[in-house]
Amino acid sequence: MPTAIFGSLEAGALYALMALGVYLSFRILDFPDLTVDGSFVTGGAVAAVMIVNGFNPFIATIAAIVAGFLAGCFTGLLHTKGKINALLSGILMMIALYSINLRIMGKSNVSLLSEETVITKITEFWKQLKIDDAIQTGLSAIGIGGFIPKTWAILFLMVILAFIVKVGMDWFLKTELGLALRATGDNETMVRSFSVDTDFYKIFGLGLSNALVAFSGALVAQYNGFSDVGMGIGMIVIGLASVIIGEAVFGAKNIIRATAAVIGGAILYRIIVTMALRVEFLETGDMKLITALIVICALILPKVIDRQKEKQRKRKRLKAMKQADAEGRGQNLAAVKSDL
């Protein structure tokens, strides 16, 4: 059990970058961007093919980010210059990317098992620091030494990476460019009257969003040891799930809080899925169904809770009024009658 949870924490940190990308398009730009399903694979495919062909894994990952940026820009071009509906331009790009991803990889699956990847490199680097041993002794001391993950490197470094990206995003969204980007999603008429080229910002914002998604895809491919053409299916829903769960659980009062919530949401989502898959009759294939159910719950539950709270508040109010009524019956009734 701890091993499974540990794995879900690692995966959650990797997918957090994708969730931040989805947050950028979905919340900041107010653009439901389905390109994500394709650009996630594009990231994995570009990184995998370059690594197999002997490139440095870090360079391969950067190339993957650039590829994702371009994919996002194309969706933006379709929407702004081609005047195609937001959802449709994302879907078109997603479908187009499926074939492009197959072309990039040359086959439907590229294995990275014997290759040197970003993940193996940071694991090696981590080993030299000897932190694992220290943690292990620490854990043994408090009596849970029985659970031994292979390494803490991925979890630590990926959470740090997610937070670096988060802090960078928080900062960017406060710059002049960032403010214009946010306002483009908030009120297009207004920003255009302040000489903001909304088309440019939409294209650029979608590029950034998909760059993060492809970054996540590249890391996930290296983490799993393969890139598969089908690994992006339902990715947008997972991204939305992370954003919505995060906001529901951790709150989204301002940008700094919201981006932290998205990372938390991505990790939480993985934990929920891991727990759900441990239920006897559920299979791995049920994961997409579970994801859909989680999103539905995250969307409906907060509203139900709010309504319950509201009802309770009204009931209290009514009770208080009745009590006041009982205390001064005569006067109160008279007052009501004279009101009529």
């Binding site: 403010l179 207004m190 255009r192 302040f194």
Partner: protein
């Protein structure tokens, strides 16, 4: 400052819904002119605003600002020297962003946008100073989201945002129409103060005749895509709502009998 030459715009040309929105309009505004525009619905007032702001391009004619022909310049490029306040208080501000962030976006109109912080200490002081001129206490609520402000406060903020960078042209499109009478009066007063403070060349559309008389040094009346009545500075002082209505009746009435061209 602003010149409209023979502007002509038709919608749905060649269909039964064809409508000539602007029929060869000429307008010449000198620097510091404040022109109020009145006219019934469908007279073409808003279309004139859209043509000036670049939201629509005219079918014929040119728009010149400061001697430069801007007819084909895109809306966002043009807006670096055109300030606009819309009728809808929601339209002029970004609701999920704070007051200071909104001001920072407005400030970006005159400066190219880069990776510097949108709101730094120097700017915050500057924004505060500007907000104080509204006398609404907004300078103490810099971090409040604009969505939480009332319609009147928002419209006052929109007005400030449109003007504090001193645009060459200010376009006010019925900017007090959606407010209650007391708030409308407040925004009208602010408009008066701000326009005279910066000496802005202003074009204001309004349905409120009283407001049209109270503000500005010139007045034009539009009907069916044409300017049917024009009042200069001297004559405007003498004008009353009644006279204006009579004039409107007279022109409209005569129109039934006479040839259109005679009147214009």
């Amino acid at each position: 400052m602003l010149q409209l030459n023979q502007i002509y715009k038709v919608f749905n040309e060649g269909t039964p819904d064809e409508k000539v929105a602007i029929n060869h309009i000429n307008l010449n505004m000198s620097p510091g002119d404040f022109v109020t525009v009145i006219g019934s619905n469908g007279a073409g007032k808003s279309t004139v605003m859209s043509v000036i702001s670049g939201k629509l391009t005219p079918d014929l004619g040119t728009v010149n600002i400061d001697g430069k022909n801007l007819t084909e310049l895109s809306e966002h490029k043009r807006s670096s020297f055109i300030g606009r306040v819309f009728q809808d208080p929601m339209a002029g501000t970004a609701p999920s962003m704070t007051i200071e962030e909104n001001l920072a976006i407005a400030y970006g109109r005159v400066k190219s946008r880069g990776l510097g912080l949108g709101v730094n200490r120097k700017r915050r002081d500057f924004f505060k100073e500007k907000l104080e001129t509204l006398h609404l206490g907004l300078e103490n609520r810099l971090h409040a989201k604009v969505g939480l402000l009332s319609g009147g406060e928002r419209q006052a903020l929109s007005l400030l945002m449109a003007t504090f960078t001193e645009p060459k042209i200010l376009l006010l499109d019925e900017h007090t129409a959606a407010l209650d009478p007391s708030r409308a009066e407040l925004v009208t007063q602010l408009t008066k103060e701000i326009v005279s403070q910066y000496g802005l060349t202003t074009l204001m559309v309004t349905h409120n005749m009283q407001q049209a008389l109270e503000l500005g040094n010139r007045l034009i009346m539009m009907d069916k895509g044409q300017i049917i009545f024009e009042v200069d500075e001297a004559a405007k002082q003498e004008l009353t709502v009644e006279k204006l209505l009579n004039e409107f009746q007279r022109i409209r009435g005569e129109k039934m009998n006479n040839d259109r061209a005679v009147l214009i």
